[in-house]
């Protein structure tokens, strides 16, 4: 057994995993505030990347201006989605809300591609592709940057959830009705969570777009993001970070063992297996809240 190679796999896996967390934070934020499964995060991520591209490449803005501007636009869009679509279905059975977010996802993907076309483009962040060596271990620079962004966002949200607005969001997450009765604007809180998730989608879109190109494949992150979110517990941001690292390592190392056995492409299988096992063994995930159901 080559330990250096295994460590390299594990470290790169963990970095990739943090990028999954970046995606999953968007799902967790919304679930936390409104118990809505956000299956549209893939479409949002894709849209975020395309908006950045439209501002930087098509409109010619510099990247440091284009990304914040895209974040502002997506912030507004997130509010809009909640106002137009989600609010009217509040309190409906989960199957309808699930279908609504799936429909949103399909719509966002279709519209984005209809407007900007499906050819893969690069964000050109300016991160060099030179290999970066940590001792003997090869690490990809862009993954390192992405992992840094994920951790920074995590820290930012930790601080945010201690602020006045953040505490309101936590109260909404804890009990819808009770927050309503003490005068917290639940609708605005839920809208804010959608807006924040859309901003996170810009970050995820830019990083992932730099790694694999901005195209339709960005929305395929959904299964991995969902797995991370469920494994960490759907309402825990810390869980999303830790679960991302775990999934990344398991996926990278496991694929190295399994690929020769099954002839390649075992990553999807591993992710799906992790999702199924998590739900079967511990549905509320590592750090999620365990709800007790009453008749």
């Amino acid at each position: 057994m080559d330990w250096v190679f295994l460590t390299e796999l594990a470290i790169n896996g963990a970095l990739t995993g943090l990028l999954y967390s970046l995606f999953a934070i968007g799902i967790v934020l919304i679930y936390k505030a409104s118990s809505v499964p956000n299956l549209a995060q893939g479409g949002l991520t894709m849209l975020g990347a395309y908006v950045v591209l439209a501002l930087s490449h098509d409109a010619g803005l510099p990247l440091w201006l284009a990304i914040p501007l895209a974040a502002v636009i997506m912030f507004g869009l997130g509010f809009g989605i909640e106002r137009v679509a989600l609010r009217r279905l509040a309190g409906r059975p989960v199957v309808m809300i699930l279908m609504l977010t799936l429909g949103l996802d399909i719509f966002l993907r279709g519209m984005t591609l209809a407007v900007w076309g499906g050819t893969s483009r690069s964000v050109e962040l300016g991160v060099s592709y030179e290999p970066f060596f940590l001792g003997d271990i090869f690490v990809s620079r862009i993954h390192l940057v992405g992992a840094g962004v994920a951790l920074a966002l995590f820290a930012a949200f930790m601080v945010f959830f201690r602020s006045r607005t953040g505490i309101k969001l936590r109260a909404i997450a804890d009990d819808y009705m009770a927050s309503w009765s003490v005068g917290i604007s639940v609708e605005r809180g839920v809208g804010l969570s959608w807006a924040l998730a859309s901003v996170v989608a810009v970050a995820a879109g830019v990083i992932w777009g730099e790694i694999q190109g901005v195209d339709q494949a960005l929305s395929l992150l959904l299964l991995k993001g969902l797995t991370v979110a469920v494994l960490g517990g759907l309402d825990s941001i810390l869980g999303a970070i830790i679960a991302g690292i775990i999934l990344g390592i398991v996926e990278n190392v496991g694929a190295d063992f399994l690929d020769p056995l099954v002839g390649g492409g075992s990553r999807e299988l591993i992710v799906a297996a992790v999702l199924i096992l998590t739900v079967m063994i511990r549905p509320h995930g590592l750090f999620g809240r365990h709800d007790i159901e009453r008749v």
């Binding site: 699930l98 429909g103 996802d105 399909i106 719509f107 993907r109 279709g110 519209m111 002839g263 739900v279």
Partner: protein
Amino acid sequence: MFYRLSGVYRVNYVSDGRMFKVPADRNLAVVFLFLGLAAPFIVPSLYLNSYMLPWLIWTAAALGLNLVTGWAGQLHLGYAAVMAVGAYSAIHAARFGLPWEIALVIGGLASSVIGSLFAFAALRVKGLYLALTTLAMQFVMDWVLTHSPAISGGSHASLQAPTLELLGQEIVSDTGYYYVAFGWCVLVTIFMLNLKRTGLGRALVAVREKDYAAAILGVNSFYYKILAFATSSFIAGVSGALLVATFFFLAAPEQFSVNVSIQVLAMVIIGGLASVIGSYFGVALILLVPGLVNGVVTSASQALGMQVNVETLAHIPNAVYGALIVVILLIEPLGLGKLYGNIRDYLMVWPFDQLRK
């Protein structure tokens, strides 16, 4: 007035348990049955085979999903995988030389067995988590299909279906294919219409409303959940097999990918949960409207002399499909079946609105 209630007295249990309580409903059903039978002589064969036939088979499939999602209340995002099991087993059986009647039943049974595996997830979790588990199972099935040449048919990953032959008749004409699809759809519809009149249907509804409460009332929710999954999987398997045998002629893994699962669920929810007529509407809308819109956009852009990007045209149907789901859910979360029900309720008492309850 249009749905006349005069002379309809429910004075005993038999009359109260009728399938069609209002004669007009029964007459409508009979009219549409005859229209369906006569369709090959009325509708041009192009429309018959590229619109009517897939509509009927997808309706049968959607009704199967409606059984498990609408009646039993279990979310299922892996329905296409179950259809794939049926399609592939039936075609392999038919290629092996078994008669198609037996091959179809084998396909259905194989689907039932695999589909019941999904039910074991349903015994542990429900709602959102069940949806995610079935979604993951769909990915596993997709992976198995694309990675096992023995199932998917070698390097080209496609499997030719042998000529369909039922009851000693070789079926090769468009009309023949249509009647096979029509027959299957009618069978499934009759089954689903009768479901609410049976103990099984009532038990499923009890499980849907609250499985713990149903268990307290003596309904074995464990048993009924598995039964619901197995039955719906049987319908899925046969529908999948017929879809390949009469429409695609070639089985390929992409025909049963995760997008298809989402599409069938969209058909069911747009149509209305636990609504039979709704499933017909939902399938028609999801299947036909994106193509229609694309045709309209193309001709409009030509008429206006505007040059529309090819890529834009290719993605508009998808955007429309997503928008349809969102808009219909916002207008009427209970689906098209409910919209139809509203119209029917209105017409039932029409000129005498003051009678409305």
